[in-house]
């Protein structure tokens, strides 16, 4: 599928538009500019056609009237030039490599890796190309997966390997690569009823040790905290191509709510490609605010940062529905948060014998 990708010519043409905006401004005797969508929660809206959150119409203009933004423009030009060189030479580089390469860009040098990552995203947003089009790879690796599902992966020798994520892997499961598009991964077949995405490695391993995937015929996906693009992308592909329900099992704190939002509705930073990354059918399983009370879980007090995050979520359009408003307000009232692994209070099997079956039964999955 990957209708998102562009040919090298399309990519170059899109990048040239960015450069032309700057050039033309100078010719007109004005300060060079770069126009891009505002990338905050104030500029994301629900796209009915796609069922995910996308950037709205708000645009910000970065103009070269201050030293800081002028340097940003100059850096963007260097990045454009670098991307074109890679496209022509048939190479790719990691974002971190690009950061180091910028050492030789003189005035256009990056002062932190964060800056170079943000600029790559800026260019994606402006050109509507993906960083794969730019031949830029993330540093982050994808997640781990276990369960009775089979896929084919093109290995580095150019051969397609058939892998069953239960029978052909060890205890650590199948490692999701950074590129999970069709040219690299093919979803073959499965014998599962749903997919469960899990925040922490400890809980992932607990479910495997307890044989949860077999007992409940499900695929387990370890998110490794805030999930990488490829993790969200493969979750979406499995959900759509195999028509499987997705449940998300996270800690019970404001940051987990955000992880869920990025999986289900689209992340604010990548709202330009939400339709490729978000899984709108995903369901938040727990830990919910009412779980903390209902199961009397060991909990920690909310820090002031937690409280600020919850308050910000109240005005985030992605949490605008009644269920989320209630959960967030409840957590604020409780003043408590709890980890997934706090379920161990009732023994190592409590999560697989009691908690998850009860929660899944509510959804009609067990």
């Amino acid at each position: 599928m990957m209708s998102a990708s562009h040919t090298p010519e399309e990519t170059k043409a899109a990048l040239h538009e960015v450069v032309t905006e700057m050039y033309d401004k100078i010719v007109k005797g004005e300060a060079p500019t770069m126009t891009l969508p505002v990338r905050t929660k104030n500029n994301i809206g629900f796209d009915n056609a796609l069922g995910v959150y996308k950037y709205g119409k708000k645009r910000s203009v970065r103009d070269a009237t201050s030293l800081g933004s002028a340097k940003q423009l100059l850096r963007a030009l260097h990045v454009v030039e670098f991307i074109e060189e890679m496209i022509d030479a048939g190479k790719s580089s990691t974002l971190r490599e690009m950061y180091y390469i910028s050492e030789s860009w003189g005035l256009g040098k990056f002062s932190s890796q964060n800056e170079s990552n943000n600029l790559a995203e800026d260019l994606e947003v402006v050109t509507k190309c993906l960083r794969e089009d730019f031949k830029l790879r993330p540093e982050e690796d994808g997640a781990r997966m276990i369960g009775n599902l089979t896929l084919r992966e093109l290995n580095r020798r150019g051969e397609w390997m058939r892998i069953n994520a239960r029978d052909d892997v060890g205890d650590s499961g199948y490692g999701v690569p950074y590129n999970v598009e069709e040219e690299k991964i093919e979803l073959v077949e499965h014998d599962i009823n749903f997919i469960m995405a899990i925040e922490t490695g400890g809980m992932f391993d607990r479910l495997i040790e307890n044989g949860f995937d077999e007992a409940y015929k499900c695929g387990l996906l370890h998110l490794k905290g805030q999930p990488a693009r490829s993790t969200r992308r493969i979750l979406k592909r499995m959900s759509e191509e195999w028509d499987l329900p997705v449940v998300v099992f996270l800690d019970g704190d404001p940051w987990s709510f955000r992880i869920f939002a990025s999986i289900a509705y689209g992340a604010i930073k990548t709202a330009h490609i939400s339709e490729y990354l978000a899984t709108p059918t995903a369901t938040y399983l727990g830990i919910t605010a009412d779980d903390i009370e209902a199961y009397d879980l060991p909990s920690d007090d909310l820090s002031s940062r937690d409280v600020d995050a919850l308050k910000a979520e109240l005005s985030d359009p992605r949490f605008a529905d009644a269920w989320w408003q209630e959960q967030i307000n409840m957590m604020l009232e409780l003043g408590k948060k709890a980890e997934q692994q706090s379920l161990a209070k009732y023994g190592l099997d409590f999560v697989t014998d009691t908690y998850l079956p009860e929660k899944l039964a509510d959804l009609g999955l067990a």
Partner: protein, 695 residues
């Protein structure tokens, strides 16, 4: 010269307390090996400075510390000055008895208040090494120098003299020493570097004695030299009579018993300051003492009654007796410009601001506060600022925390002036040093160690006020620096970044590099002035350039004005663009119309200044469009400066000198002129820009 030397020697009063010393040396600055050396240097150097000052000689002081026996901590200290010297017969008096200066009778500002005197050094040397102090003294009227070894009989309070002789005092260059004193002694002591060291003491001494040339040879043979930065000696301080507000019972008793006056009225009128004949009568009436009573035969209860009348506790017709303030011409402040020079000399830094407050009075004692602040890159940014405390030009090195001067610094919220200060309390942090000098006829210490000033509300208030004013100067400097950094950014933007964007975008699109003038004008849309003031080593001149850039889309016409140190005697040279004088210290150039994108540079040199005297030029403009990097000329202020100059010019021709005017400092600056010396001149910078300048 001999007259001065002899008179000074006679003034010393003898007090038999040598035995007291031996038992109480810890009170007197000889309590540790490190401190003993500092105290010894202090006593010798203070004496030299006082002697030179009184004899109106510009002091050249040499201090040499040598390690004689490192294991046993034996150190030899040698000090030499070019003072009047001591007549041979007075040497044993000066060195062999503990002296109390003259403070009980003559009230004036002196260094001597602060130590036990050089006798303490002689005594300490003898006690710790058994060796006598070698003295060489040459007075101007004699051809040879007197030499003698002085020891002490601490029980009899008598000097012991040995090896008396005369010799020719030849200087290293072969010439003969005209006059001066050299002391050589050996003591158990330790030389140490750091904040409490001989080095620091001399460095601080040099800051507040800018008229002194001080050389120090440390035990490693390294020579440290703090040159003289002014030829102007401190003003000769006048003695004043005590003021009733500052008198204690014991002193009053002694004054009465020693009095030669026949009647109490004349006794009060003649022996106290601030007491008119009318006030004398009123005081006596309040104390219920007969005006005709003989001071010598006053009764015990009358002393107390008189003291109560002095303090306003006994009323006359329901009111305390009104007394005049004592005169304040008995004080000798260092004065702003000289503190600035002193600070700049010993600390290498960017910004110096100083101020001298008007003298005022506390408990019958005149006092005056002076402060200085230096800020810049040379100092540690994350450490507490260095606090340099002085009382009557003597550095205070110990007990910083308990000192009134430190408390005054701590009472200011420095955060608003750009320094770090946790919770807005305590000594602030930052790359700065703060100097506080208290000049007073009666410096009150917390203890005999004389290292920390005792609490006094009026003094604290004065120091605080001075700190606040300096703080404002610092903030102004930091704001200016910020503004300059912003301008610098704009320059980088249009000179480097925009051309790079143009070149890179043209290269990517394979098109010609576009013309930048339009974009640059649009981005800057400002007129910018840049000034540079640099010391030219070769010509010994200060070179100034002022460049004006028109980055707007219209032609602009301006008159540029610059402040320059005309009052300090500088002359302007190589000023090819002519212009004219607008006021003293303000020069103006009417420039031709500046087209968009055009720049214009003015250049001139200042002659007759020393390095560091003038390091920043304030630029002003007249014209409609604002100029970044210059200040719009305040015509009213300029008129005021002109008017003030006229008034001052008139006053100066009538000036008879001698008195300190106690009116506000900001309009005077010239009034405290002693008869024989040039008055200190403040610079145009201070008049136009408030206190402080970059240094």
């Amino acid at each position: 010269m001999a007259g001065t030397a002899e008179r000074m020697a006679q003034n010393q009063k003898q007090v038999a307390i040598s035995e007291f010393f031996e038992k109480n040396k810890h009170f007197l600055g000889f309590d540790s090996l490190v401190r003993s050396l500092i105290t010894a240097v202090k006593e010798a150097v203070d004496n030299s400075l006082d002697a030179c000052e009184e004899a109106r000689i510009l002091p050249d002081i040499r201090v040499k510390v040598t390690k004689v026996d490192d294991k046993k901590n034996i150190i030899e200290l040698q000090t030499e000055d070019n003072g009047p010297g001591i007549p041979k017969r007075s040497i044993e008096k000066v060195f062999g008895q503990l002296l109390f200066g003259s403070r009980f009778h003559a009230i004036r500002q002196s260094r001597g208040q602060q130590g036990i005197g050089i006798t303490g050094v002689v005594m300490y040397s003898q006690l710790t090494t058994g060796r006598k102090t070698h003295v060489r003294s040459k007075i101007a009227t004699e051809t040879s120098a007197a030499v003698v070894d002085i020891g002490l009989d601490t029980r009899k309070n008598k000097a012991t003299k040995t090896n008396e002789d005369r010799e020719i005092w030849e200087l290293p260059d072969g010439s003969l020493k005209e006059h001066g004193l050299e002391i050589t002694c050996r003591m158990k002591a330790k030389y140490q570097r750091g904040r409490q060291s001989v080095y620091q003491y001399l460095r601080m001494t040099s800051i507040v004695n800018p008229h002194a040339d001080i050389t120090f040879e440390d035990p490693d043979g390294e020579i440290h030299h703090w040159p003289r930065v002014t030829e102007r000696l401190p003003r000769k301080v006048e003695s004043i009579k005590p003021h009733p507000h500052g008198i204690h019972l014991g002193t009053l008793q002694r004054m009465c018993t020693e009095a030669t006056d026949n009647r109490m009225t004349s006794f009060l009128y003649k022996n106290f300051s601030g007491v008119s004949t009318r006030a004398a009568k009123e005081l006596l009436a309040a104390a219920e003492i007969d005006e005709k009573a003989k001071p010598k035969s006053l009764k015990a209860e009358s002393y107390r009654a008189l003291i109560e009348a002095f303090q306003g506790e006994r009323l006359l017709n329901g009111k305390p007796v009104k007394l005049l303030n004592p005169p304040t011409n008995c004080l000798s402040p260092i004065e702003e410009l000289l503190i600035k020079k002193g600070l700049s000399k010993t600390i290498d830094s960017r910004f110096v601001t100083t101020m001298t407050r008007t003298p005022t009075v506390t408990q019958g004692n005149p006092f005056q506060v002076e402060v200085g602040l230096i800020f810049g890159d040379g100092m540690a940014a994350d450490k507490p600022v260095e606090v340099l405390r002085f009382a009557n030009r003597v550095p205070l090195m110990y007990q910083q925390g308990g000192c009134l001067l430190t408390k005054a610094i701590e009472s200011v919220d420095w955060r608003q002036y750009g320094l770090d200060q946790a919770g807005g309390r305590g000594v602030p942090k930052g790359p700065a040093a703060i100097l506080v000098h208290l000049a007073s006829t009666n410096v009150q210490f917390t203890s005999e160690a004389k290292e920390a000033l005792a609490d006094n509300e009026e003094v604290l208030d004065e120091v605080r006020k001075a700190m606040l004013e300096m703080g404002r100067g610092l903030r102004k400097h930091l704001e200016k620096k910020k503004k300059m950094a912003k301008t610098q950014e704009k320059f980088e933007l249009v000179n480097d970044i925009i051309p790079a964007i143009a070149a890179k975008s043209a290269a990517i699109l394979d098109r010609p590099i576009p013309d930048l003038a339009g974009s640059i004008t649009k981005i800057m849309s400002a007129v910018i002035a840049e000034s540079e003031t640099v010391w030219n080593k070769e010509t010994k001149q200060t070179d100034v350039t002022i460049t004006l850039f028109n980055y707007t889309s219209r032609a602009r016409a301006y008159t540029i004005l610059a402040a320059w140190p005309e009052k300090d005697g500088a002359t302007m040279e190589g000023n090819e663009h002519g212009g004219r004088k607008e006021a003293t210290g303000v020069w103006a150039w009417k420039l031709d119309t500046l087209d968009p994108g055009q720049t214009f540079t003015l250049a001139y040199s200042l002659n007759g200044l020393e390095r560091g005297d003038w390091t920043d030029t304030d630029v002003f403009f007249r014209g409609s469009q604002d100029v970044i990097g210059a200040t719009k000329m305040d015509e009213k202020l300029l008129d005021e400066i002109r008017r003030r100059e006229e008034v001052l010019a008139d006053e100066e021709s009538e000036e008879d000198g001698g008195d300190i005017k106690t009116d506000d400092k900001s309009d005077g600056d010239e009034s405290d002129a002693p008869v024989e010396e040039e008055p200190p001149r403040t610079t145009g910078q201070q008049t136009l820009m408030g206190y402080g300048s970059d240094a």
